[in-house]
Point group: C2
Chain length 367, copies 2
């Protein structure tokens, strides 16, 4: 999606990805096949590029810094931001130290720490400090007796976070440019099994809460270093308080609605920001709902999506297929967006869910 | 732009183009370098493709038919439509025979024909029957004494067309799908030196005229064969009559506004139609103006656009750079679009012209 947004601007993309013929390959000028920590591959990329950025947090910040310096090319956002974010404990601690509101959390090095946290917070989400993604590496713990099992499931340095009794989850997509910061209208995010399923814009909350969410997000953006798009996941508590959950230093799934729903998408904004160009208009052109299409399979299988004519036929619908070859359980395979000035968010969300119910990867599904 | 629209749908594009590293190359899976009439290149393309289409009228219909049949792959629109359209005289005659309104015209084989036409129509536009594009191959003739010079300038079989005293020029972008036809809202087109400069949506005409334009366009679509997008250029005469000027059997410059201005762009619609998929919503999401960026140079030179920050900074603006390496006099190098629900067409058009006045390829221009 970044390469798709770069193309109209005349910006060519070379992508470094370990999967041969990765999803970006057909729309990129070229793919360098290599791991995110492959120094030779990264050096080849830097030698060909005017600017470097990343879309996944797995790159090694030290390596990025070194290669960028050797080749005299900028990296945005700053690798230092990646350092802050890649360790969830350090990330949370940094926000707390900066006065940014976060849920209660603790460092967990052993069973004693975890049992104490479970008792203090009346149950916790145990999170691997590094490498988690879409709920992987997260284990809910309600009973101190489960501490050993939970720690072994997480399998490394961890943190424990209090469960937030939230009214809803929100996100703010922000973009840090050369000399200005812009935020898109607040997005309502709906998760199940810790995986984003739908987004709703405008978020179905009060204006005050939306304004507070934007304010907190701008504090986060002010704290982090480097130009580019950030996805800032938030909790709205039952008393209307905003807490920061996690931050992604890149275009974020909760901002995919901006492709159809805003004048400039998060991907276009990222390109503009990384290159130091003026930012685009970050508005909401119409009520916009996005639904993720996940692998509804029990085992990996070839990715053939059935029932897609339903989405293609729907009013004001845009389909995005990511080109992944294999459907896996709950893997994000694509999404679709309904953006319609004449509809309200509730109606769009109901339509989106109905349309998604008509999609399946299962061969045994009946139409 | 077609490849950019195909990508989110998971449709890969291989492009056949005679220019190595052509503008589509960076976003296409692959480019086959070859002429539009290169049988080997076309066979290679057909062997790799599930469907064939064209974006320029220069392909040889017989060759397309033959290669498609040999490789068992469809071509849309039908090569027969290309046959009808590639000869402007035959095209006009076919519409007239089908009861579709066109300006008065005549076949011109020699000076005698031309002089007679100039006298009968009180001046004519002499047009080469084949190969014209963006006004090339068109010569206005007011005086019968200029007949010989005009014929030699056109340099081949020609037709003469009466000048239409039009109130404005319009276009309708239509899309013929598997089992339905859709048209986008009528576009107002503004030409200078016979080259499209701006488009305005909604067209600043009456509802009755817009409805009549849509009706005539649908008659044209009904007459032509094959799925895909068609750009239908129209005259609105001073008494509100609609006449067909020319038809392009492909996405058309006057439909570029649909990328930002409609739920599904003309390019996405073309992909859907060629593949036999359901068509998308062809609406106007907001008042939308597009301005072409032409080469403002006296001689060909490297294409470096100056002043582009003005467009990038403008509210609700989207820049499209075509990636052509060389700026030539009046060559279409890109366009930009302003799509803004809170603005009226007149205001958008004035803003677009002002922004374009800030763009130049000339090295000696002062900021």
């Amino acid at each position: 999606m970044l390469a798709e947004a770069a193309a109209p601007l005349g910006v060519e993309v070379v992508v470094l990805d370990p999967t041969p013929d990765c999803p970006a390959a057909p729309v990129a000028r070229d793919q360098i096949v290599g791991g995110f920590d492959d120094a030779d591959a990264l050096a080849e990329l830097a030698a060909r590029a005017d600017a470097l950025t990343f879309e996944i947090e797995l790159a090694d910040p030290d390596l990025l810094d070194r290669v960028a310096e050797e080749h005299g090319v900028g990296v945005e956002p700053a690798p230092d931001t990646l350092r802050t974010i890649e360790d969830k404990l350090e990330q949370k601690q940094a926000y707390a130290d900066a006065g940014i509101p976060v849920p209660p959390f603790r460092r967990v090095d052993d069973e004693t720490d975890l049992r104490a946290a479970v008792e203090a917070f009346d149950g916790v989400m145990l999170k691997a400090r590094t490498g988690g993604y879409d709920g992987r590496g997260n284990v809910p713990v309600q009973d101190p007796a489960d501490a050993a099992d939970a720690l072994s499931a997480v399998g490394g340095p961890a943190m424990a976070e209090a469960f937030v009794d939230f009214a809803r989850e929100l996100s703010v997509i922000g973009v840090v440019g050369r000399d200005e910061v812009r935020t898109f209208p607040v997005t309502e995010t709906i998760h199940r099994e810790e995986i984003l399923r739908e987004t709703v814009v405008p978020a179905r909350t009060t204006e005050d809460v939306a304004a507070r969410a934007d304010e907190v997000a701008r504090d986060v953006l002010d704290f982090l270093d480097g130009r580019g798009v950030y996805g800032i996941e938030l909790f709205e508590t039952r008393d209307g308080e905003i807490l920061v959950n996690e931050v992604a230093p890149r275009p974020h799934n909760s901002g995919h609605w901006t492709i159809e729903g805003s004048s400039a998408s998060q991907f276009e904004q990222h390109v503009r920001a990384v290159l130091g160009w003026p930012l685009g208009t970050a508005d909401a052109r119409a009520p916009t709902v996005t639904a993720n299409v996940l692998g509804d399979v029990e085992d990996p299988q070839d990715a053939t999506l059935r029932g897609v004519d339903g989405v293609l036929s729907a009013d004001c619908a845009a389909m995005h297929w990511y080109g992944k070859r294999e459907a896996r359980p709950l893997r994000k395979m694509g999404h679709f967006t309904l953006s319609d000035a004449d509809a309200d968010p509730d109606t769009l969300l109901a339509r989106a869910k109905e349309l998604r119910d008509g999609l399946t990867f299962r061969e045994d599904a009946t139409d």
